[in-house]
Amino acid sequence: MEKYLYIALFAPLVSSLFAALFTAQPKKQFVGIVTSLLIFTSFVSSSILLVYILKGGEPIHVELMTWMATGGLYIPFGFVVDEVSVVMMMVVTLVSTVVHVYSNGYMDHDKSFNRFFAWLSAFVFSMMVLVMSDNFAGLFIGWEGVGLCSWGLIGFWYNRESATWAANEAFIMNRIADLGMLIGLFLIYWNTGTLQYDEAFAKLPYLDTATLTWTGIFLFIGAMGKSAQFPLHTWLADAMEGPTPVSALIHAATMVTAGVYLVIRAHPLFDLIPHVGLFIASLGAFVAIFAASMALVNRDMKRIIAYSTLSQLGYMFAAAGLGAYWVALFHLMAHAFFKALLFLGAGNVMHAMHDELDPFKMGGLKKTMKWTWIMMTIASFALAGVFPLAGFYSKDAILETAFVEHHFIIYTVLLFTAGLTAFYSFRLVALIFHGEERYKLFGIHPHEAYKYMLVAMSPLLVLAIIAGAFQHTFFELVEEALHAVHYHIHSEVVVWIMTIGTQAFVIAMIIYAYKKYARKDIKIPDGTSPVEQSFIYKLLFNQYYIPYFYEEYIVKPYQELSEIFWKKVDLKIVDATVDGIAKVLYSTGAATRGMQNGNLSTMLRWMVVGLVLLLLIAVAIGITVRYSERITLFLSGLGVL
């Protein structure tokens, strides 16, 4: 079985290196094909491992070699395939395979076709390292690796200012969180003496609560960056500058869920500190509604989906924070399927619309893009949590968890957010596919995507529909690893009321969205309507002015302070002091060099001065010695001695 572990892990690396060989050359179709095949190989190996684990096989643990060893620190390159990592491996390799195949079509005309695949496969490798590592340091390798690949892929079209800006923003913001993560690692090391998961977790119960709390907080700060939780969320929406397959893979299905994975992986820690868990859950619920509200009015197709991702990540954290790790992991998986599908559908639309992103400029596309329409509609139903699609099972489980755990505020917020989710999802679908064909105004002739791209998307479609059916299998799989329990509401009546009520609410919101946005007379907003003038709309449209706030009160002051440090402090104070000392020495020399100009009369004059000075000193010493007693008396009288 170890063989499959290595294949699953290293096939993406081989794939990336292979593609990298051709980065300097023009598009080579075989690069796309070979990389897709290699990622598919990784997927097949992961599937074999999944079957093995499902059949009750022992977790596979390998140690490749030592990475760092000094003092008491020992960090190997160790990898583990257990119930949790195998689920992540499946999600990662499945979505990656789909995205690789899809990208063959999507990046068809791009001059950097080969480079794209090199980065994309490198990302898959980093993600595999992240989920398969058996220690925190290995996790951190993957953690930074996906950050790097995300940087390279957001800024893939590096000629665009906005793309490179967004890439740097994502990298730097993630680094802020990574610092938290590093501190978390240090805390674990100095308190348990190791960074290996199993050894460290075994020692956790012996530590005091304060240490555990701080460790939990710092690790969660790390998770907040990758998973774009408030207040480190702004990079995710800007990351939409990258090619759409990237958004589907990295910024929807896999990388952004790394934070959730971390919390799930470190569950023995978070189990011990429920108060931190409650904070995580509350923040998750807040982000869920906060992001959903921004998605309500946004006019950028990809950003709407990005906010939706943010909102769903909030759901996952809400579940994980409440201790329902398996529910979080299940939602993570289901979300990966339908959200990647949604993004890839959006990619098709973008291609058809020549990179237009404003859904108000589309409309009526269902005629020309039937399959994309069907897929996106189903994905949106799944996202909204409509029975019997995948999202229903996973989201319902989260709501039930909150209810059973008596966190009714979180429950209410999440329930309300479910309605918002339904609304903005179908606002998007209605605007793109229904109503008048507004794109005609812009002279665009849309066309459906390549067949094989649609075929590539189909596994996601199938999973978005049926993933809910696996809930029980999934539960049994992770039951032991995550101490999973079913969250049952005792009264059956309450269950029915809740389920039907939620469904009715969601469906009502969907119908409302259709009614409002599938109309024939939708106008492209021009900022004049009373809604657009309202404060709430402006607030939401400008993302609560948070990016503006960051720009004005963090970025600009940092720049100005840097300038001041350089031009005022470093040059004018620190360096000027050094030069000043040198100048004093120099000018003293320059001023006194006249003494030694070799002129006899000058020298005689200075000799006299010297003589007088020496005499004076001699006299002074003489007097002091003679009257030393009196002087002592006098000085002591003054209180000096």
């Binding site: 980065t23 300097a24 070699m65 030592t66 990475w67 760092m68 060893a69 000094t70 003092g71 008491g72 620190l73 340091a137 951190f140 390798i141 930074e144 690796g145 790097l148 940087w151 800024g155 590096y158 000629n159 200012e161 490179t164 800006w165 740097n168 990298f171 730097i172 680094r175 802020i176 990574d178 610092l179 590093l182 501190i183 690692l185 240090f186 805390l187 090391y189 100095w190 940092y558 720049q559 302070l561 840097s562 300038e563 440090f565 350089w566 031009k567 402090v569 470093d570 620190v574 360096d575 002091t577 050094v578 040198a582």
Partner: protein
């Protein structure tokens, strides 16, 4: 022959340099490359012969110079100095091989570089304070020439500032050394400048404090630590590429190396006493110079200030005073040597082509020079300390080590990974991303074979030692354990005993655990 390998390593370049004066100008480059290559191969032989399991000094050589005052020529290396010597040989070789074709007075330059090599190897191999001091000061002279004769428009100012500033610091250090020898005389009745003799001295804390300060001034200016750093931007700004490469890769490490060789084992109590203030200085270095780097318009100055920022991390690791931190800081010296050396070479590449270093003159270089952009990208990522690059290992261990001493200071210092990313990424974006706007940049040639000859090995080392640091980390670790053990034993104050971990006790405890497990 291998008994005297260290002396050969030190003096072979100097002898070769003298002979170089009679070599014809046309052949001098080949001659220089040959000498430097032989030297590099010798340094590799040294590594081969080095026994990583021995923690103490190896290849010791002793030759009396002034026996009545206990001044001897003593050289020897351990895991701490071994790799810096190899690095010095490596960079001298690369530097000579990649000298621009149009270098004026090529012969003098190569002779100067070979002399510089002697002083560099000498500093890291010397185990006698006076010999150390001689090499330490001699290293200023070739550098003074390199900046003063081959530098930019402000070269005279920059070179004199460099010389006088560092010289002033070293004089104070010399006074400290003389006092140490005098104290040794007081205690034992014999004069000695041998470092290994000094290690056995236990000084009263009040002496330690003053001596620590005297040495500190010499080392801190060399590192350079804030607020003694302002000579460095001028030196880098005016120095030719080769000067900056050697300066950043090797010469700056003299200061941090000397902290570990002198200050820590000689004055353990003072080291503990000054740990917090020095950490604060290190933090200022890290954050303040990173911000100054961000404000720069000249890409070479960005790299220059980034050097100071990274040296801050090295200082922090050194003053963690535990095995993890010190090992990390030494590894980071190697890592920073490789990466900053490579970055200065890279800046030199573009300067050769465009004769400007202003980032506003570039933009879109990734389109024109993709290979250049790739290698710059690798070094950029190493510089910001991405895992699996050489710098991460050192940075991680340095911070990890210091975390044992102070949570909050490490947290603040850790912002190095944020501010470092800010200036590096924004510089990269300005130079490489966007569209080519300047006509002169449209047809820039990509890296030549010679340039690749220097940069590809550096890239390989950057990743190799990031993925598999063990061959270097292990010998360093063993020697550092010995240093920490010595410090713990010598420490007088209870606080120092507490802050400097007892390596021996930990080792015994570990062995017990292993036994139990078996």
């Amino acid at each position: 022959m291998f008994d005297h390998i260290l002396s050969i390593l030190i003096f072979f370049p100097a002898v070769a340099a003298l002979l170089g004066f009679v070599v014809k100008p046309a052949g001098i480059r080949a001659y220089g490359v040959a000498v430097a290559t032989v030297e590099f191969v010798l340094s590799l032989v040294l590594w081969l012969l080095y026994d990583p399991n021995v923690s103490g000094m190896q290849f010791l050589e002793t030759l009396p110079l002034v026996p009545s005052f206990g001044i001897n020529y003593i050289v020897g290396i351990d895991g701490i100095s071994l790799f810096i010597i190899i690095l010095a040989a490596f960079f001298t070789m690369l530097g000579i091989a990649t000298l621009p074709q149009n270098t004026k007075d090529e012969k003098n330059m190569i002779v100067t570089l070979l002399f510089l090599q002697m002083t560099m190897v000498g500093v890291f191999a010397a185990l006698d304070a006076i010999v150390f001091y001689v090499f330490w000061e001699l290293s200023l002279v070739p550098m003074l020439y390199i900046i003063g004769a081959w530098g930019g428009p402000l070269r005279i100012y920059a070179s004199i500032k460099f010389f006088l500033y560092t010289f002033a610091g070293s004089l104070v250090m010399l006074v400290g050394m003389l006092f140490m020898a005098y104290f040794y005389y007081q205690v034992t009745g014999k004069w000695s400048f041998a470092l290994l003799d000094w290690y056995r001295l236990v000084l009263p804390v009040s002496y330690q404090v003053w001596l620590f300060l005297a040495f500190f001034l010499g080392f801190a200016i060399k590192v350079p630590m804030f607020p003694f750093h302002t000579w460095l931007p001028y030196a880098h700004g005016q120095a030719p590429t080769i000067g900056s490469v050697i300066l950043a890769a090797i010469l700056l490490k003299m200061g941090t190396y000397a902290f570990i060789r002198f200050s820590l084992p000689l004055f353990p109590d003072a080291s503990v006493l000054f740990m917090k203030p020095i950490a604060v200085l290190a933090i200022i270095m890290i954050i303040y110079t990173a911000m100054v780097a961000y404000a720069q318009k000249d890409i070479k100055q960005v790299v220059a200030y980034s050097s100071i920022s990274h040296m801050g991390v090295i200082i922090l690791g050194t003053f963690a005073l535990n095995v993890e931190g010190i090992t990390g800081s030494i590894f980071l010296m190697i890592g920073h040597g490789v990466v900053s050396g490579a970055l200065f070479l890279l800046v030199g590449v573009i300067y050769e082509r465009r004769h400007t270093k202003l980032m506003s003159e570039f933009g879109g270089l990734a389109d024109v020079m993709p290979r250049y952009a790739l290698i710059f990208g690798i070094m950029l990522m190493a510089s910001v300390g991405l895992p699996l690059t050489i710098n991460f290992v050192g940075e991680f261990l340095s911070f990890l080590g210091f975390y044992q001493q102070s949570h909050i200071l490490t947290l603040i210092a850790g912002s190095a990974i944020i501010v470092g990313a800010i200036y590096m990424l924004s510089a990269f974006k300005k130079a490489f991303f966007g569209n080519v706007t300047k006509k002169e940049n449209e047809n820039l040639p990509d890296l030549t074979k010679t340039e690749l000859f220097a940069l590809v090995p550096l890239s390989i080392i950057t990743i190799w030692l990031g993925v598999y640091p063990k061959p270097v980390l292990e010998p360093i670790n063993n020697s550092v354990e010995a240093v920490v053990e010595l410090m713990h034993e010598k420490a007088i104050t209870p606080e120092a005993k507490l802050k400097i971990p007892d390596v021996k006790a930990i080792r015994i405890a570990d062995a017990a655990v292993v036994k139990e497990a078996e």
